[in-house]
Structure formats: C-alpha cells, structure tokens
Amino acid sequence: MADSRLEELRRSTLAAFASAGSLEELEKVRVEALGRKGALAQISKEFGRIAADERALLGKLLNSVKQDLESEYESKKRRFEQAELAERLAGEWIDVTLPAPGTRPGSLHPVTQLQNEIEDLFTSLGFAVLYGPEVESEQHNFDALNIPATHPARDMQDTFWLSNGDLLRTHTSPVQVRGMRAFKPPLRMIAPGRVFRNEEVDASHEHTFYQVEGMMVDRDVSVANLIYFMKTLLGGIFGREVTVRLRPGYFPFVEPGFELDIRCLICDGAGCPVCKHSGWVELCPCGLVHPKVLRMSDIDPEEWGGFAFGLGLTRLAMMRYGIDDIRLLQGGDLRFLTQF
C-alpha cells in the first residue's frame, strides 16, 4: 500500500516540478513533498506500523524516491538561477566602443628616440656615453682639435660667438677632448648632443641640430679597423647590412680624414633621387685621430692611435622618419610631435 503511495508521490511531484514556472513555485512544491511536514515525511511517519521485514524494503524505496526528487529539485533550481543571472547580466550591457576617460601617453621627440637607440647600440659595444656643455671655449672647440685661429677650416663653420669670449659649440668634437683628458686610453666613447651653426634657417638648414661624436683610442687602430667598425655600426643603426666606402675628406682633427658613403638604401646603388643618382649617400665624416690632437690631450701618438667619426643625428632622424622640413624638429608643434 505504502509502496504505491510512494510511487504516486514520485510521479506527481516530478510532474509538479516540471510545471513549476518560477523559483518560488518550485520551492512550494519542494516543501509540500520534501519539507519537514511534507508528504514524504508523512509517509515515513507511518513506517512504525509496518512489519520489520517489509519496513526494510519500503525504506529503500523511500530513500530512492527522496533522492530522485531532491536531485530533480536541485537541477531545476540551478536552471532557474542560471536563467535569472543571465537575464540580470544581459541588462548590464555596455557599449564597449565608448571612449575611455583619462590621459593618454604623450610622446618622446624623434631625436630622443633615435639617440636612445644609438646610445644603446654603442653601450653594447663597450662605449662610454659622455655629455658636454653647449657653451665651449675656443680652445676646446677649435684649438685642441688642430683648428688654429688662422685655419681656413674655421670658415667652414659659422660660429655663434658669445659675450664672455666663448662660443656655442659648432660640433660635438670638443667632447672628444674632454673625454681624452678625463679618461686615459684605452678609451671608447660617444658624445651625442646639440650643436650650433650661425646660419639662416630654411627647410634643410638649421642653426641648431644634433650630432653624435664617436671615438676609439687603443694601441693599434687602423683604417681597416675603422671600415670594419663603421660597417658594423651602420648595420646596427639601419637594421640591415650596409655597403660603405671611404673617400678622402678634410677635417683638421683627423689624419687621414674621410667622408664615409653608404650604398643608397633606397635604390641599392642603382641610382635614385635620394642619392642624386650616384648610388651613394654621404653619411659621416671620420678618420684616424690626428697625432696633434692626441698630443694636445696628453696622449702619446707613438703609443696610442684611434679613430673618430661624427654622425648627424638630425639627419638620421629625418632619413628614418621621412621628415622633409628640418624646422619641424624644433617647432614644438603637437601635430608633428604626437606622430612619434
């Protein structure tokens, strides 16, 4: 008798669970069937009146019914909760394409970016990075670099002369002198910085621009070493193998002195407007350090030798970014600066 009631309870409760339309209705059905005073509890109360051998069988059945109902309740409840959560979250929709508040990062000047790269490259090659002042003595800027007052090379550089008798450095080369005097050889150093020429400004001329001076002083430094080094270095700067050539160039602080050309990176030497159809682009002056320059910095040229070179940072930056007007670099115009 009791067993048929249990089967009936299972059937009717499962049906009621199935038709429950909300969490509340589901809960109501659960209380009616499985609650402390529910139908199942009622049936189990009656067990006392049943013979012991029959009671064991019925107990088993009762447990089975109870488990089935509880499990069905839990799974149905979970479905209701999931649906509810899904509905709530769907209501929290946002337009992810709305702009975000707050300040955006600014930018580093293109020359700074290039200078950082070049400093890193040289540092990796064991070079010191030295900074020198913008205002220099005539001694450092000219005399100590073998450019005496009567030397026509001073014509090549239009100098800003200052009221205190000094000048605005016309090249970063005076930092060579400072480096040689501060640190004895062997010495590897670069000196990036701002230099000045007293000339009219137009799209391709500036009175203020940037250079990197480089120098290596060691026991035996030859032209063959210079070629090797410049090739390695320029390969690093341009991120590809470059072909270089040296031709005679005159700079009073080197002997021999060279102009270094690289095979045009645009046309690979075939000839294009960038290289003026020559296949070569003049890139940097260089040479073996003049013995007089070494001697003036108390380095014995019989014992030590070196090479030096000057890279135009401004020019390299313009080449890298395709900047066609040099004035933009110091124009402070955000429309330009924010591009880097």
Binding site: L108, A224, Y228, P248
Partner: protein, 669 residues
C-alpha cells in the same frame, strides 16, 4: 673650382680615362666632385671647394693633373719653361716692409704691349671654367692663376708713380678705388701694394682702377707674389670681398711658384701680344726660405695605420708620382722630402704621408678588420639612465617632448620680466630672436603654448634641456599643462605628476617670481632638498596674448634630482605581525594653514606607534566661520610586539589631542 678635361689632358698627356671615369677616380682618390657637364667639345668637372681647403696646389689645373697622372699612371707635363726668364737687372725695385705678410714678390716689366681681345682658344678655356675674358693681358694672368695656380696682377706701368713697388701695411686714411668699381677704406691691418703716391692694390685681393690695363697701355708691370694666408683671409673677410686670388692665397700658396708664373706669362704673352718685349730681368724679393725637415717614414708605420700590407716599392712609386723626394735610408724606411707645393701647411708628419699612400692605393682596397681592443668597463654615465626614466615617465603621464632653442631674446625678457644683462649674449646673432642664451626653459614652453592653442584646447609638454648661466650649464626638466578651461585642479594634477616623478616630494608655498601666480607658487622639496618649482604661470602673461586658459608649470634641476635619486638606499622593513588600530581626528584651523603642518604635528605626536596617517577630507562651511576649515585625518597605530589594547590606543589618541590643543589647534572630538 671648375676643371677643364681638355686642359688636364694637355698637362697629363696620354690620359685615357673618359671624363665620367675621371670624375669617379678623383672623387675616390683626391677630392669630391660635384658634377660634370659638357662645355662645347670640352667637359667641365666641378670639385667641391671645401674638399680643397687643405690643398693649395689643387686650385690649379697643373696640381690636379699631377693627381690624375699619379692615379692613372700617365706622365705629367710641366707647362713652365724656366729658361724663358730673362737674366739681368730689373729696371724696377721692390721693397717688402712686412715680410711676415708677403713671403715673396716677383715682377717683370713688359714693353710694347697691346692689350687686345684674346684668341679664341684662350677665351674658351677661361669661359669654360667660369671666368670672363677681359683682354689678352688680363686673360693670361687669369689663365696662369687657374693653371699653376699663381694669382698675378698686371699694372699699367705708365700709371705708376716712381719705379719702386712697396709692399706695406696701409696707413690710416688711405683708400683704394678697386677694379670692381668699389672704394675700400683701408686700415693699418690691410697689406697693400703701393707706389710712391699710395696704394695701387689690396695685396692678394684686388687691384686698383687707376693702374688697370686699358687699350692705351703699352708698358705692363706683371706682379707674381706670395702673400701670407691668414692676412689675406682677414683683409678679404673684413672688406667682404672674396676674389679668385684671395681664395687661393688663403690656402697658403707655394712661394716657388712666383717666378714660374712669370716664365709661363712670358710664353703666353708672346703668343697673345705679338711684338711684346721684356724690359730687363726679374725683380724678385723674398723672405728667407723656411727649411722643411724631411720626414722619416718606416714602411711598417704605413702598414700599421692603413691595416693593409703594402710594399716599399709601392710606397715609393706613389710618393714619387705625387712629387715627393724619396731616399732609402734604412731597412724598410724612407726619408721623404715634401715638395714645396705641399709644404706650406698640408704635409709635415708621417701620418700625412700615410694618407697620401692610403688614398692612392684606394681605401676600397683595404679589407675590413675587426679591431682588437682592450676589455674595459666604460666609465658610467649616471645621468643618462635617469633622464631616460624621467622622459619615459613624463610621456606615460601624457606629456609630449619638445626641443626648444638654447636662445632667448627681448620678447621673452619682457614677457617674463627677465634682465637680459644677466644673460650671456650672442655677439653675432643672425636673427633678433637669437640674441641671448636661455637661463630658463619656461619661456620656450610658453612659446610652445602659443604655437599649439590654435589646434588643441588642452595639452601637456615637457623639455629636458640646459639652462645656460654665466657660471655654467644646469640640465633641467620642465613641463607645462595648459588648459583653455583650466582651474586649480590642474595645479593638483601637476602635483600628482611631480609626485610620480619624485615619490615623496612635498610642496612648500613660495614667494612668486614675476612670471608666477602670486598665490599659486611652490618650491618642490624632495629628500630634504629643494629641487625645483611648481607654479601656475602668471595669468597676465597669457592674457596679454589673448589666451583665456591656465598653464601649470614644473621646473626641476635634473642634476640635483639625479643625485638625490642615486643616493637613496632601499632597506627592507619587516612586515607587521600584529594588527593596528585606527581612529579619526578632525582639526579646525585657519583656512590658510597648510594641511602639511597639521599632518606633521599629528605624526610627531603619534610618535613611534604610528603605523600610517591618511588625509580624509577638508571641509569649509557651517558651522565653521568663513576663515576656517576642518581637516580630518585617519591615524593608524600599533606595536611591533603585541596587539595594542583599547586602553593603549585611547592613551595615544588622548596624547595626540592634548598635544594638538597645546599647539593651538581646535579639535572636534
């Protein structure tokens, strides 16, 4: 400098290289060619003057022909026939008063001269290299200048007073009416050529109009002199007059060339002025010849400098072809005599000879070799990584980096109330905005505001650059935050940025400078040192330019900041093992009392038990008076070895309250 291909081939007969090939060879071995173009049946090769600065000999075709002959291995033909020079006394006398400025003065007198038009070959040669044909006599002098190169000058002998030529410094008040139609006022630094009545030429630069060769001229004094380079350069730049002659003399020409020039002139004048006669011999006055030491040149030295094996025979061949005298003085060692045309200043060391050999073997023949260098740790540059970090942080905070000029000017001075007298001045400024050197980065940043307001209502800029003071340069980092709708919140945004750059920095109200907002100016203190300033730019400066907005500025001494940053040592403190307890305190005080003062007092009174103190809020309004404010702090206290009891915490709280009251603060408890 323009070179005629035909002319070079006259002097280096057998030259087989075509013009374009020759241009290429000259560029790689000697000097930079700027271009090549046809000129009738001839070709003209243009060489960059800057690459000839150190080579007086290359300002003439003969010198370039010597290079070409050495490069291509053909013979060089000397156009000068010294045997043409007449012997005997000259009817003229030459007196050099200043032998330091004129090393040699040679002259010849010609008679029965008729200066007419030059023959076509002479005109063509001169025109092809960019010179105008004047008349046959002048053309000959110009031809020799472009050939040997020896500048010469022809005077009409009948227009000269007396038979003595004086080479002397000009006297005060003297002037010269020159061939170009200008009159030059002379000073005692100008070297002149003079006759008995006064200057007839500015030495090495230009001749005088009064003694110029004309159609009436029958007797000519031909000057072939050698002037000291820097003197010519000085005079020529002072008078702003650069001539083909002065450009050459500036390079220190060969004094041996004066009489060679005269010999060449005799030959050419006989061709272009039929009937011309020499009157007497050469007048030749010269300073004592400087002896040039021969150079000892070990072959090993060349090999070491070039990094390429090269034989003694090859070195000898190259140097001989370039005119050097060679004798073998030892095992693998040469003694090299420098030819006069290279000895004036170009070559004196064995390093100079290494260059001669290197360029003639061809630098393209030297194989790259990795340098063998010592393993050394380079001396550190502590500023570099620090500046890089500052820049990166500023960029991350929305700042764009600008590079401004190192100059300042009258406009900046007026705007910012600066005294230009305290700035280093530029003695030769090219523009009115470049007259002085900047002692602050701020005026430049202000100019950047003016550039950008048209396009942007709000922006942040910074610069890392040198302040240039009479006593030296100080690297600064300065930034500006401009906003068209600016208010005091921008000030605190800048304060936040400053605290990001310099963690733990504090602001101390400071007396404003002329360009700073009088009530919004602070000194930035970091690690017990003043490192710079944070302020609102004086609104009047913006208003004068018609700008409504506000600009907040920070300006920090990067050197001091770097030193302080480097000095900081980080030491770990053990984490607390026992919980802390907190309580809030509200202090009522005068509206203008800095909250930092309150915080400092609270911190001090809480003493060693203080774990943290945090600003909660500031309140102004009822029930407090209009000149008052209430400032609240949360104070966390604790002990390192036990959990504080309620009684302990209360005792500390009472101590703080009593202490604050003793300091005159009112507490709301």
């Amino acid at each position: 400098m323009k070179f005629s291909y035909d002319w070079l081939r006259d002097l280096a007969p057998g030259l087989a290289a075509a013009p374009a090939e020759l241009e290429h060879l000259i560029t790689l071995r000697t000097a930079e060619c700027e271009g090549i173009e046809r000129a009738g049946s001839d070709w003209v090769i243009e060489i960059d003057n800057k690459s000839l600065t150190h080579r007086p000999d290359l300002w003439g075709h003969y010198g370039m022909a010597r290079e070409v002959a050495a490069i291509t291995g053909v013979k060089l033909l000397d156009p000068v026939k010294p045997e043409l020079l007449p012997a005997g006394e000259s009817p003229m006398r030459v007196e050099i008063a200043d032998p330091a400025r004129c090393f040699r003065y040679s002259a010849l007198l010609f008679e029965n001269v008729k200066a007419g038009p030059s023959p076509q070959w002479l005109r063509t040669r001169l025109e092809n290299i960019g010179a105008n044909s004047i008349n046959s006599v002048v053309d000959v002098t110009n031809y020799i200048m472009a050939e040997l190169p020896q500048p010469m000058h022809a005077f009409d002998a009948d227009k000269l007073a007396g038979d003595t030529i004086f080479v002397r410094l000009a006297r005060a008040g003297e002037s010269l009416a020159a061939l170009n139609g200008e009159t030059y006022e002379l000073t005692e630094t100008d070297l002149v050529i003079a006759d008995a009545s006064g200057p007839i030429a500015l030495a090495g630069v230009i001749g005088g109009m009064a003694s110029a060769i004309s159609e009436e001229t029958t007797r000519v004094v031909l000057e072939s002199a050698n002037f000291e380079a820097s003197g010519v350069r000085f005079t020529s730049s002072r008078h702003r007059l650069r001539t083909d002659a002065s450009v050459r003399f500036e390079k220190a020409l060969d004094p041996e060339n004066t009489v060679r020039g005269l010999a060449r002139a005799i030959e050419l004048l006989r061709q272009v002025c039929p009937g011309i006669r020499l009157a007497g011999g050469v007048a030749d006055t010269r300073a004592p010849v400087r002896s040039i030491e021969p150079i000892h040149l070990p072959i090993r030295f060349i090999v070491r400098k070039l990094g390429k094996e090269i034989s003694q025979a090859e070195v000898t061949r190259i140097l001989s072809a370039l005119g050097f005298g060679i004798s073998e003085t030892g095992d693998a060692e040469l003694t090299v005599t420098v030819p006069t045309w290279r000895a004036t200043k170009d070559i004196s060391l064995k390093d100079d000879l290494a260059e001669e050999v290197g360029r003639m073997v061809g630098y393209d023949s030297i194989a790259p070799v990795a340098p063998r260098v010592a393993s050394i740790v380079p001396p550190p540059n502590t500023l570099r990584p620090y500046l890089r970090r500052l820049r990166a942080q500023l960029a991350a905070q929305g700042f764009n980096e600008v590079y401004n000029y190192s100059f300042t000017n009258e406009t900046d001075a007026q705007r910012f109330g600066l005294d230009l007298g305290e700035h280093i001045a530029v003695r030769n400024p090219i523009a009115s905005e470049l007259t002085h050197l900047r002692r602050s980065l701020v005026p430049g940043l202000f100019r950047n505001i003016l550039t950008n307001v048209r396009y942007f209502p709000e922006f942040r800029l910074f610069e890392v650059g040198n302040e240039i003071h009479p006593k030296g340069e100080i690297m600064h980092v300065a930034g500006v935050l401009y906003s068209a709708q600016g208010n005091e919140h921008d000030f605190f945004e800048m304060k936040r940025v400053v605290e990001c750059l310099f963690p733990g920095a504090r602001l101390v109200a400071a007396e404003a400078r002329t360009y700073e907002h009088p009530a919004r100016t602070a000194e930035i203190h970091w690690r017990d040192s003043a490192i710079g300033r944070l302020f609102e730019l004086h609104p009047a400066i913006l208003q004068i330019e018609g700008l409504e907005g506000r600009a907040m500025v920070f300006d920090v001494d990067a050197i001091v900041a770097q030193r302080l940053a480097a000095a900081a040592e980080i030491r770990y403190k053990p984490l607390r093992k026992f919980p802390t307890s907190g309580f809030d305190l509200s202090v009522v005080c005068d509206l203008r009392t800095p909250v930092d003062n309150i915080c400092d007092a609270l911190r001090k009174l809480a003493g060693a038990s203080l774990a943290a103190i945090e600003f909660v809020r500031q309140y102004v309004g009822p029930p407090f008076g209009p000149d008052q404010k209430s400032v609240s702090y949360r104070i966390e206290v604790g002990a390192l070895d036990h959990t504080m009891t309620a009684e302990e915490v209360t005792a500390i709280r009472n101590r703080v309250i009593e202490g604050m009251r003793a300091l005159g603060f009112e507490l709301r408890v």
